[in-house]
């Protein structure tokens, strides 16, 4: 098992290298001169010369790449040309919001998706299965922004049940400490603030989590059906084990395998979907930051953010792969 882990980590390194090369070229293959492109409207001859010096744009390409790599390894991700704040510091303030959103969506997708998929798998072609199939179809056919607005309209505008914008109600005056709305609210010791933060999380989590929910439900259902037909389930029954035991240890333990793989992939979808969700619900997270950076032609920020997203996604996949190897002894020694 430890050898498997090491091998997986080593396997990720070439991908990171390839990514860094691609992102490096991204900056240097922009139409026109990189310095002008980065500075955009701020371009003056002195600033251009300064940027060229900072980025070493007059040096041969491979030296520039090494410089870039060096900066990356030192944790220097550049700075925004819009407000001159470093990517790293800005990221620290915005990432917590994205984490809250992603975790909320995951809880929704997994917490609802797996139990429902399991039930549907145990009673295939029943009424629950039928309902779930239709819901899943809509789940993958309705884009996040459509679902988001639909929910905002229904629950926010018409019914006034749930808040539609932002992470928390600014009127509550919760001071920003960790940038996690829920933690900050908890730190004030006022239950009203915590409830408010949680309420603001509900609609965006559902909007973001619906597609993964639909997919996880379908995969779980299919996995349960497939496994229930396997020979070893018949053996387990022939040994006189209770139905509960058969279900838990024999069916679900094996059905988890494809589900785990999908969850890993869906986290990527969540990261990407956060971009749209934060725009719809006006959350100040990394997703909406990417969009504004692209609109402002803030290329260095875009370059660094894409790198960060990719690293996060690769790490999550690594963890999921290791978890999978723990669950599936057959591949541990492969």
């Amino acid at each position: 098992m430890p050898r498997y882990i090491v091998r997986r980590i080593l396997g990720a390194i070439p991908i990171l290298f390839g990514l860094s090369i691609a992102l490096f070229l991204f900056l240097h293959l922009l139409p026109g001169d990189p310095a002008t492109a980065i500075l955009g409207q701020h371009a003056t001859p002195q600033l251009i010369a300064q940027v060229r010096a900072n980025l070493g744009l007059d040096e041969p390409l491979y030296l520039q790449y090494l410089g870039y790599l060096g900066r990356l390894l030192h944790g220097d991700l550049g700075a925004s040309f819009v407000d001159s704040r470093t990517v790293v510091s800005e990221f620290a303030t915005k990432f917590p919001a994205t984490i809250e959103l992603t975790v909320g969506a995951l809880i929704f997708a997994i917490g609802l998706g797996i139990p429902l998929g399991r039930l549907a798998g145990r009673h295939p072609n029943g009424w629950l299965d039928g309902v779930l199939t239709v819901v899943s179809l809509f789940g993958i056919s309705v884009p996040i922004f459509v679902l988001g607005y639909a929910m905002v309209y229904l629950f926010g505008v018409e019914l006034h049940w749930l808040p539609a914008v932002g992470q928390a109600d600014p009127r509550l005056g919760v001071p920003t400490v960790t940038h996690f709305a829920i933690i900050d609210a908890a730190l004030t010791g006022r239950p009203v603030a915590v409830v408010d933060a949680l309420a603001h999380l509900i609609l965006p989590s559902i909007a973001l989590g619906t597609i993964p929910f639909a997919i996880i439900t379908r995969i779980t259902r299919a996995a349960v059906i497939d496994v229930a037909n396997e020979d070893y389930v018949r053996t387990a029954r022939a040994k006189g084990l209770t139905e509960q035991r058969v279900d838990r240890r024999h069916i679900m333990r094996n059905a988890w395998l494809p589900v785990t793989t999908i969850i890993g992939l869906e986290v990527g979808g969540l990261l990407a979907g956060a971009v749209i969700t934060e725009t719809v619900f006006a959350w100040n997270g990394v997703g909406s930051w990417v969009v504004s950076a692209v609109e402002n032609h803030d290329y260095i920020v875009v370059q660094s953010l894409v790198l960060i997203f990719a690293v996060i996604f690769l790490s999550v996949n690594l963890i999921v792969d290791i978890g999978y190897a723990y669950l599936n002894p057959r591949i541990r020694y492969a």
């Binding site: 070893y232 018949r234 053996t235 387990a236 029954r237 022939a238 084990l241 035991r245 240890r249």
Partner: protein, 367 residues
């Protein structure tokens, strides 16, 4: 009273495409400690019969639609699921054909054996584990203490089947059903596993129903054999008697389909004509009629019951002296059985009612 008594068992599968008549009225008995062979080709109903008596038919399609199954006098078909579960593993055990897929790939051997033991006894985990080690040693697995912690995919096919046998015999069941236990194994391993099965069940006095399509497997292992075809038992006899004096045309055909070392060189094999029956229609007449070289016109419309070859003696259902019975209206004579073909002068198998012989496409060619 025999250990297991089955009377008139009928099993059907209800599917979208229609009803499959898998078992059509099977009756037999098994004594305490007796080994019975259930022989027939794929689809003849032998596996379904055993699944039915264990009440493990695939649901919702499979249904027992008639008959009685009694274990030691208890009517199994009337028991609740909980009562049946209590019997499974403890009194009734079953091992299956493919050891590769019959063991849970994500649990260790220890976990799978211990859970069986603890499901039916009050043993602690340590006691159950010790018993598991004992059992693995009994089936010939080297270094059982270490092998316990391994996963199924780390064992070879033969080893896995031994593990299955160990699990099945763990609680000293009265009856073990072995469904094609060696079909998926190499020939040399087959012999080892069969010998193990024979030795263990003889020691513990467990009755065995050995299901297979391979006559060679039952020859050395069983006391009696039931030959099944299309959901019926067509012949039953003690093993030696069956091989020496096969009486049903199907059995005769089976024995003549096997190439033999002592056959005269150049003598052709005599295959059984035709194809297996379509079990989506309830059978009319003798199910073997379309393929039988001895058929009479009556065979197309009358399904003969299982009856003794030699009448006038009391019918014995189990043991070495069991009565040789067949279900046939026109059984082959001993000479015909030895030859594999009808030898009577001018005898032609009766054609199907209303059929036309049409074997070659004839094309006109200009002269």
């Amino acid at each position: 009273m025999a250990l297991l008594e089955i009377e008139g068992l009928v099993v059907r599968f209800r599917t979208h495409e229609g009803t499959i008549h898998a078992v059509n009225g099977v009756s037999f008995q098994v004594d305490e400690g007796e080994t019975l062979g259930l022989v027939g080709e794929s689809g003849c109903g032998k596996s379904v019969t055993s699944l039915a008596l264990m009440r493990l038919l695939p649901s919702p399609a499979g249904h027992v639609e008639g008959g009685r199954v009694r274990l030691d006098g208890t009517e199994l078909l009337d028991l609740t699921e909980a009562e049946m579960r209590d019997l499974r593993g403890r009194e009734l055990a079953m091992i299956f054909q493919d050891p590769m897929t019959s063991l849970n790939p994500v649990l260790t051997i220890a976990e799978q054996m211990v859970e069986t033991i603890r499901a039916h006894t009050q043993m602690t985990a340590e006691q159950a584990t010790a018993r598991a080690v004992e059992l693995l040693g009994m089936v010939g697995i080297p270094r059982p203490e270490t092998r316990l912690k391994a996963f199924p995919h780390e064992f070879s096919g033969g080893m896995r089947q031994r593990v299955m046998i160990a699990m099945a015999l763990a609680l000293h069941p009265r009856l073990l059903i072995a469904d094609e236990p060696t079909t998926a194994l190499d020939v040399t391993i087959q012999a080892q596993v069969l010998e193990l099965l024979r030795a263990l069940t003889a020691d513990s006095g467990t009755a065995v129903i050995l299901i297979t399509h391979d006559l060679g497997v039952v020859a050395g292992m069983t006391r009696r054999i039931n030959v099944m075809y299309a959901g019926y038992i067509v012949e039953t006899a003690p093993t030696a008697e069956l091989f020496a004096h096969p009486a049903h045309p199907y059995t005769v055909g089976l024995l003549h389909s096997i190439p033999r070392l002592d056959a005269v060189e150049g003598e052709p094999l005599i295959p059984i004509e035709g194809t297996p029956p379509d079990q989506r229609r309830a059978p009319v007449g003798c199910p073997f009629a379309p393929r039988c070289a001895w058929r009479l016109a009556a065979c197309w419309s009358t399904n003969p019951p299982l009856e003794p070859l030699v009448t006038g003696m009391p019918v014995v259902l189990t043991g070495d002296r069991a009565t040789h019975r067949i279900a046939c209206l026109n059984p082959p004579t001993p000479e015909e059985a030895a030859a594999g073909l009808p030898l009577r002068e001018g005898f032609v198998a009766a054609p199907a009612p209303g059929s036309v012989v049409d074997e070659l496409a004839i094309a006109e060619v200009p002269a």
